[in-house]
Symmetry: C2
Subunit: 112 residues, 2 copies
């Protein structure tokens, strides 16, 4: 069981900012920007590489939830970056697909 499943199961506390049947979103415990939220599907998909073609709607929903949170946290106009890491070269940290939302500071290029 990963830390994300424990957060979803409320076995580990987290600062939750969004929840519905399919998705949970909470502040990253190691924030890399003043706004740094993780958007996670409740159903375990280890990483993007293991998503199915039938997961298109769920993947799109993760992106739209990130956008909604960006609005609620007031970073829509100033700007924000979404990041999905898959595999070792990306520094994938937890084997449970998640979208990073970063904002409220100027984000450099390249993105890592």
């Amino acid at each position: 069981m990963t830390i994300f499943e424990k957060i979803i199961a409320r076995e580990i506390p987290a600062k939750i900012v969004f929840e519905d049947d399919e998705v949970l979103a909470f502040h990253d415990v190691n924030p890399q920007a003043p706004v740094h939220v993780l958007i996670v599907p409740k159903r375990v998909v280890a990483r993007l590489d293991e998503a199915k073609e039938s997961d298109a709607q769920l993947l799109g929903k993760l992106i739209l939830v990130a956008r909604k949170i960006a609005r609620e946290l007031g970073v829509s106009e100033s700007g924000y970056r979404l990041v999905i890491n898959s595999g070792p070269n990306a520094g994938e940290s937890v084997p449970h697909l998640h979208v990073h939302l970063l904002g409220k500071r100027s984000l450099g290029w390249p993105p890592g």
Copy 2:
């Protein structure tokens, strides 16, 4: 008309790696990694903040096309990062929604 519309219209050349009715993908002209591909919807959506709820399927498709290209370019196992920039703090470069796919090198953290 942005540079992406001109690429879609074949008015500007690009190294295209994927095309279907809805999506075009091509190598970034300023690559930030040995693999750096842009995945673009043919229909103009200026940025994520302007996507509609009904665009969930399209957004999911952009992610799955990126995943497919990652496989074809041989970075699925070594890993890759997807990035979507929205607005000035993210350094949004072209007002036409696009997903960056970066791979074939170790990507640092934070992602910009």
